[in-house]
């Protein structure tokens, strides 16, 4: 008796559920999104919503310990008022230049390494790959900190040179300037560029290279006319992966930059900390992201157009 009652109770919901499931399974897109939903929701909750809040806050005003929520463009006007406060735009410009330099050095040093990995390493490839990838995952702070003990006033280079008798006084220009920041960032981000370049080189169809040789290209010509153009997607990806995050870096300038090596990230950090002006800090970070986005888009369009022209001729 009981089991029959249970059956009649369960059945309608079971049928409904089955119908719902059939509907769900019929559409591949719905199934895909159902699976993706948790990830997507988390990204929206932790990325999109906070970024929206940040953007909103950039239109507010900090009055001592209170926030004035009325809409104002004052923070932005302050940033772009170059005569009154040149510091924001100057630092933004300087950070972009420094990041561009870092990106250039990282990509140019990573390329031969990636080429070596893709074309020359036959045995122990896995070992080489792992050796290159491991620094990518290990402590960024410690990699940056290592340069402080290398370049410091009483650091490895100075004490080394003194004990070798090459200099009498420690060299002061090693640490706390823009150069030390660029060197440190180049080292800290080196591993990020090799993998994308390596992957794009690895993907190149080897028969294209043979064809180039058969058609009379010297190895040098072959590299510049076949290999290099085909590896461009990897180079671009590597460049973006290094350039964009380094613009906003604040630890490296804090550790090895001193006062003359500060970047835009340090301003943002202090506005959210000691200077206690989070709305202005939000506005600075929004301007920074806008500048990065504009630069990246312009760059990608330039490449796209060149490629388009190439295809036409």
């Amino acid at each position: 008796m009981v089991s029959v009652a249970e059956k009649t109770l369960v059945q309608p919901t079971g049928g409904l559920r089955r119908r719902f499931m059939t509907l769900l399974y019929r559409s591949e897109g719905v199934r895909g999104y159902a699976l993706l939903l948790p990830t997507l929701l988390v990204m929206i909750a932790m990325l999109v919503v906070p970024l929206g809040t940040l953007a909103l806050q950039s239109f507010w005003t900090q009055i001592y310990f209170k926030l004035d929520h009325s809409f104002t463009l004052n923070n932005y006007l302050q940033i772009f008022d170059f005569k009154q406060n040149p510091i924001y735009l100057v630092l933004l410009f300087r950070s972009i230049i420094m990041s561009l330099m870092v990106t250039f050095f990282v990509v140019i040093t990573a390329y031969p390494m990636a080429y070596f990995l893709a074309f020359k390493v036959q045995r122990h490839k896995l070992v080489w790959l792992i050796l290159i990838t491991v620094p990518f995952w290990t402590s960024y702070l410690l990699r940056v900190f290592a340069w402080k003990i290398i370049l410091g006033f009483q650091g490895v280079i100075n004490s080394g040179l003194i004990s070798l008798g090459l200099i009498d006084q420690p060299l002061e220009f090693l640490l706390y300037n823009q150069t030390s920041v660029v060197i440190t960032l180049t080292h800290a981000w080196a591993a990020f560029a090799i993998l994308p370049i390596y992957v794009s080189l690895e993907k190149i169809d080897r028969s294209l290279l043979e064809a180039a040789t058969d058609l009379g290209d010297t190895p040098r010509e072959r590299f510049w006319r076949v290999t290099f153009p085909l590896s461009m997607p990897g180079v671009v990806a590597a460049g973006l992966l290094v350039f964009i995050p380094t613009v906003g870096d604040y630890v490296t300038p804090n550790v090895v930059g001193g006062t003359s090596g500060i970047m835009i990230g340090n301003i943002i950090q202090s506005l959210f900390g000691k200077a206690n002006n989070a709305p202005l800090g939000s506005a600075v970070s929004i301007v920074m992201m806008a500048a990065i986005t504009l630069l990246v888009c312009a760059f990608l369009m330039l490449i796209g157009r060149r490629r388009w022209k190439h295809a036409e001729t």
Partner: protein, 269 residues
């Protein structure tokens, strides 16, 4: 002949490059055994005292606890989200897939400081909650999910999708197929993703610095120690331990996921 010379040149470059990448970090290890307050040549006696001093440091042990807890939660959450996301992206035709994938991968190309300040604003200003362990977990999940997705996507693309279809054809449900076919085959990727997310979170400073509140993570603790010159050797010893552990974990994870697969798809991360 010319060819052989060129290969040697590149090999030399490869070795120099590895030295450039590893030498600065190895200096931290070298000087952590040096019996002297200053990090300077010439080296003094060999000592273990900076290591034995660490055991009695309560601030340090507390930070280790906080970091371990955060990294554990982050690794589990990110890997689960990464597996689900990667399965959806690799196995289903979905409208708007490119845009959704772009959104999930976006944290790879946003300066870390932006996550720190935007989460800080949301948590502290909008919700009025004192930031702490859970805020850091949020920030770290954000940067770890793209890594996990990348690892899992290349893993799922690496094995034959027909295996899953065969299981479905033989009458298994989607859920059971996922547990009995997909998960075992993807296991090396899952383990690698867990370990890599764990290390990433454990070593992360730039986001944690904004969100730590009173719960200093290990990197935040280390940073606070950098101000005191007399604590430098202790920091070096601590750093060496972290480097050694990270090195072992990451080497294992990378070996696990790259072994036997054709490297690689996507960004190759």
């Amino acid at each position: 002949m010319v060819g052989a010379k060129r290969i040697d040149g590149l090999l030399a470059y490869g070795i120099i490059y590895l030295i450039f990448i590893y030498a600065p970090v190895l200096l931290i290890v070298l000087f952590s055994f040096n019996n002297g307050i200053y990090v300077a040549f010439p080296l003094k006696d060999f000592t273990f005292k900076w290591y034995s001093d660490m055991v009695h440091n309560t601030g340090l042990t507390k930070a280790v606890g906080v970091s371990l807890r955060i990294a554990g939660i982050v690794a589990v959450v990110s890997t689960v989200l990464g597996v689900l996301g990667a399965k959806a992206v690799t196995r289903y035709a979905m409208p708007g897939k490119a845009m959704v994938t772009f959104l999930i991968m976006l944290p790879l190309v946003i300066p870390a400081i932006v996550f720190g300040i935007s989460l800080l604003t949301l948590i502290a200003k909008v919700f009025g909650i004192q930031p702490g362990t859970w805020s850091i977990v949020c920030g770290h999940v954000l940067i770890c999910v793209p890594f996990s997705m990348a690892v899992m996507i290349s893993r799922l693309q690496g094995f034959d999708k027909n295996l899953e279809e065969a299981s479905l054809d033989l009458g298994e449900t989607g859920w059971r197929t996922f547990w009995r076919v997909t998960v075992p085959l993807a296991m090396p990727g899952i383990v690698a993703s867990f370990l890599l997310c764990f290390t990433t979170s454990f070593d992360e400073y730039q986001i944690a610095a904004f969100l730590s509140g009173n719960d200093a993570t290990l990197p935040v603790y280390i940073y606070s120690q950098l101000r005191f010159p007399n604590r430098l050797p202790g920091t070096l010893a601590l750093g060496s331990c972290i480097l050694a552990i990270s090195f072992v974990i990451v080497t294992f994870a990378e070996w696990m996921r790259r072994r036997g697969t054709n490297p690689d798809k996507g960004l190759g991360i």
